[in-house]
């Protein structure tokens, strides 16, 4: 597979997730990575939206992807208030499930799944950059 650049602009999280699901048909070898990307985008967009609402603001998103044989490089641009997803505290995972407080898992999952994370905020907007690694090549893989 050659490098492929995509720019996804959707007014809703559902639109972004549906666009990522559609990409699995075009790139079946990246199915597992695209599922992880859907999870990561869900967590990121939900948290950025939640923070923006708490500040009385709304946010627009744009997702830029570089699809490569061994990884997907991503940049999520938003125009909401600055919120660094790499700075949130980790939840206490040693507590039994039924005693754990609600919340905090989403950004923890995000941070565990991505590599090379970077957050940039400027008056023009914010950008969360990260990379998702594809599983190793298999004998039957068609990448």
């Amino acid at each position: 597979m050659q490098r492929r650049q995509l720019n996804l602009k959707h007014p809703s999280l559902r639109g972004l997730l549906d666009a990522l699901a559609a990409l699995k048909t075009e790139h079946p070898a990246l199915t597992a990575t695209l599922d992880e990307l859907s999870l990561v985008v869900d967590e990121l967009v939900s948290n950025l939206n939640k923070y923006a609402r708490s500040q009385g603001q709304s946010t627009r998103f744009e997702l830029e992807l570089q699809l490569l044989p061994d990884r997907i490089e991503c940049a999520l641009y938003d125009d909401g208030p600055a919120f660094n997803p790499f700075a949130a505290a980790d939840p206490d995972l040693e507590l039994p499930l039924e005693e754990r407080p609600i919340g905090g898992l989403g950004l923890f999952l995000f941070r565990q799944l991505v590599h090379d994370g970077r957050y940039i905020s400027s008056p023009e907007g914010n950008c969360t950059q990260f990379t998702l690694a594809a599983p190793p090549y298999s004998d039957t893989g068609n990448r």
Binding site: L39, L105, Q112, L113
Partner: protein, 114 residues
């Protein structure tokens, strides 16, 4: 991708929910709503058709576990895909749940209560 939920009685005291699609922040309320109608002693989530689960989906599963424990009930999960299993592993949820790799394994577990 949407979420499809099929609710089937597994036996006299257990209800099975077969989940297909995506259990994410937009579809998790659908599952919460479906669970409101269920008062079985054992609630089983069959995840065979689930392509991914987000933290919103995990919260519904954990809230169900919490509720079931308060009434002496159980929660079981079966047929996780590798991707879904990875999410449960990252948040260290595997030890707190009854997890079965196949429907047959789960049926044996259910039969042990009859």
């Amino acid at each position: 991708m949407s979420l499809e939920i099929m609710i089937l009685p597994a036996n006299e005291s257990a209800t099975r929910l077969s989940l297909t699609g995506s259990l994410d922040s937009e579809t998790a309320p659908q599952l919460e709503q479906a669970l409101e109608q269920i008062s079985a002693k054992t609630i089983i989530f069959n995840m065979k058709g689930l392509s991914f689960i987000s933290s919103a989906g995990l919260r519904v599963i954990f809230a169900t576990l919490k509720r079931q424990k308060t009434v002496g009930g159980k929660v079981a999960v079966c047929n996780m895909s590798p991707g879904v299993k990875k999410v449960f592993e990252i948040v260290k949820a595997m030890p707190g749940l009854n997890i079965f790799s196949s429907t047959e394994e789960l049926d044996d577990y259910l039969a042990s209560f009859q």
